[in-house]
């Protein structure tokens, strides 16, 4: 049973990463993504190689159109590269079927987007239960785990509210609860604070830090704001589809 009740427990923050000895959680090798619009070819990612280790907290920055979202979609198994290889937990994801990718997204990846992406006319609880509907979790356990996830993000008492009855920050918390409800090992957040004010943004980032430190969840956050990026331990910079900077905090 893949239940994990350690969300509130102290499991130690940093995972020691030395690429030679530990297999990286995410390993991207010469990945390109090219969109063809008629005659026009747009190179969204240009032969990118990067590794991210389990337990890391990565911030991604770069100007608009530099390929950040494209990169997130590929490592989130929502999209496939045009060329190159993506190893997730050592497995070549490119060879997997659409349904296998769905299963990976369901079990190991949680998404948090700028636009919240909650189902309308559906309570917070049911929104959080959503991933559990697709892996055969029994009804009572779904409810229990969704409530637990909502408690973790501080919305334990708002489970019966509909998205339109919640503030932007609260809605984003529901999305985060949905991302972690299935004990995802990776949370991918594409501009999660893009629609929020500074104070709420900071609260959301604190929540990510807590998930990273207490549950050891690998967090990758795309942002345009240096304040937000500052929460990460590692900062990757994109420009025109290539990585132009990759620094670990303190090492600079």
């Amino acid at each position: 049973m893949p239940r994990r009740n350690d969300l509130g427990m102290q499991t130690g923050g940093t995972t020691p990463h030395s690429p030679e000895t530990v297999l990286p959680l995410i390993s991207v090798q010469q990945v390109s993504k090219i969109y063809t619009l008629g005659e026009h070819r747009v190179t969204a990612l240009n032969s990118i190689s990067v590794s991210i280790h389990a337990g890391d907290f990565v911030a991604i920055m770069g100007p608009s159109g530099s390929g950040k979202s494209t990169f997130m979609n590929i490592i989130g198994c929502l999209d496939r590269p045009s060329s190159g290889t993506y190893y997730l937990n050592g497995q070549d994801v490119g060879t997997l079927s659409r349904d296998c990718l769905a299963e990976i997204r369901n079990k190991t990846i949680g998404f948090v987007f700028q636009g919240f992406n909650l189902l309308p006319r559906t309570t917070a609880l049911e929104n959080v239960e959503l991933p559990l509907l697709y892996n055969g979790t029994p009804a009572h356990e779904r409810r229990e785990r969704a409530l637990e996830a909502l408690r973790v993000v501080g919305l334990g008492d708002r489970w019966h509210h509909y998205p339109n009855q919640l503030s932007g920050g609260q809605q984003q918390r529901v999305t985060i609860a949905r991302a972690i409800v299935n004990n995802a090992s990776i949370v991918l957040a594409d501009e999660p604070t893009g629609n929020l004010d500074t104070k709420t943004s900071m609260e959301i980032m604190e929540l990510f830090v807590r998930l990273n430190q207490t549950a050891g969840i690998t967090i990758i956050v795309v942002t345009h704001e240096p304040d937000i990026a500052a929460y990460g331990r590692r900062l990757i910079r994109f420009l025109d589809g290539v990585i132009v900077g990759d620094e670990v905090k303190g090492v600079a």
Partner: protein, 409 residues
């Protein structure tokens, strides 16, 4: 894989979010299924009714009526200008080899009184042959005889309805009733036959000897004139021969020159039954056509609304795929939605169709019965329509690209 209770709940929620639209979409299915139900039960009812009717009228029956069909007014028992005679009836029996029995009939309405009870009914003067021709038995007492006829005895045979109205539970045999104030002894009560196709109560009748009727009750224009006669052919195959022989004989007896119209009409009751069966069949085919067209249109309506729904909910589909819904999870969700539409419509259709069938059965005096098989078949049709027309939209939804779907506004 997503569980059935979950997709059922999702389906109902989605349909409730657009109650009006869902209702209108179901209309085709409702009409289609109602037509299927009506088709099956009316078809079965009509067939059964006709079978009963043939059994109760008597088999191999011809009716000869005064007046010609083409001159318009000739309706059974209403021959305004009688041209037939008792002698004609006797001649037919004697000279037509395809005929096995004949009964002349003279009828009228009369008030029948017993004690302080009175009842208005049809009184028919005829010969003892009528019981053989109509395959009608006496339930109690005995039929009248040739003797009664010869002496114009004031005796009568009573239909079950008349007996019940005048005597209630008592046995009328041996009692004296007054028909048009003339006392008649009840010598027998007939078995109950029920209603005809047109809703007439066949048991609301009194038979008296034809001689008595003509002398005492309904004064004929000329002695021996009758309104109509019932003829029994030797077999079903002999019906047409009998019809021809009777026509030829009567034309000769009535001295009708070639080229002149008949002053009588020979009706083949079996043919009339056949007509009724044909009408029932036509009605069944018609309802079948309505049913299939409605189900087809209803199905296309469902497909259309499901395609709209898939487009409207592109974002929802994107979210579901992103969090791990597989191809069949999405397909089943939308197929279930289409199925729910068609089955809810189907249930409403079954209810309306049943009410309709009962109403039609009542109006046309058909035995009504909602066959469980009919309900099952309609339900099956509705389900098949839902799955068939829901599949394409569901298939489309399952192939959506999650990134584009999530970006969809």
């Amino acid at each position: 894989m997503i569980s059935v209770p979950v997709i059922t709940r999702i389906a109902f929620r989605a349909l409730r979010a657009n109650t009006m639209r869902s209702g209108l979409t179901m209309l085709g299915i409702i009409i289609g299924v109602a037509a299927v139900i009506a088709m099956i039960s009316i078809g079965a009812g009509a067939r059964q009714r006709v079978a009963n009717e043939v059994a109760s009228m008597g088999s191999n029956l011809l009716i000869v009526v005064s007046g010609s069909t083409s001159s318009g007014g000739a309706r059974m028992g209403a021959g305004s200008d009688p041209t037939l005679t008792i002698a004609d009836a006797e001649a037919i029996l004697r000279e037509c080899p395809a005929v096995i029995d004949v009964a002349p009939l003279q009828s009228g309405t009369a008030q029948v009184v017993y004690g302080n009870q009175n009842w208005s009914t049809v009184v028919m003067g005829t010969t003892p042959s009528i019981l053989n021709i109509r395959e009608w038995r006496v339930a109690s007492g005995k039929p009248f005889t040739d003797q009664d006829e010869r002496h114009a005895n004031k005796v009568c045979l009573m239909g079950a309805t008349v007996a019940e109205k005048l005597f209630g539970a008592f046995d009328p045999v041996g009692q004296v009733v007054r028909i048009k104030k003339i006392p008649f002894t009840v010598i027998g009560v007939l078995e109950r036959k029920g209603q005809t196709l047109t809703g007439q109560d066949q048991d609301d009748i009194i038979y008296v000897p034809i001689t008595t009727a003509q002398k005492k009750l309904f004064r004929a224009l000329f002695p021996g004139m009758i309104q109509f006669m019932m003829v029994k052919a030797v077999s079903t195959e002999a019906l047409e021969d009998a019809q021809e022989q009777i026509t030829a004989l009567l034309r000769q007896r009535h001295r009708i020159g070639s080229g002149q119209e008949n002053d009588f009409t020979v009706r083949n009751l079996t043919q009339m039954m056949q007509t009724a069966i044909t009408i029932a069949r036509v009605m069944t085919v018609l309802l079948g056509a309505i049913a299939s067209i409605s189900l087809l249109v209803g199905g296309i309506g469902i497909m259309n609304i499901m395609l709209v729904s898939v487009t409207e909910r592109t974002r929802e589909i994107g979210i579901r795929i992103a969090v791990g819904a597989k191809t069949w999870d999405i397909r089943l969700q939308f197929i279930m939605e289409a199925l729910t539409l068609s089955l809810v419509g189907g249930c409403i259709g079954i209810v309306l169709g049943s009410i309709g069938s009962v109403a039609v059965a009542h109006a046309f005096h058909l035995p009504s019965g909602i066959s469980p098989l009919g309900v099952l078949i309609s339900f099956g049709f509705a389900a098949a329509v839902g799955v068939f027309f829901g599949f394409y939209p569901a298939y489309k939804a399952s192939l959506l690209n999650p990134i584009e779907a999530l970006r969809y506004e």
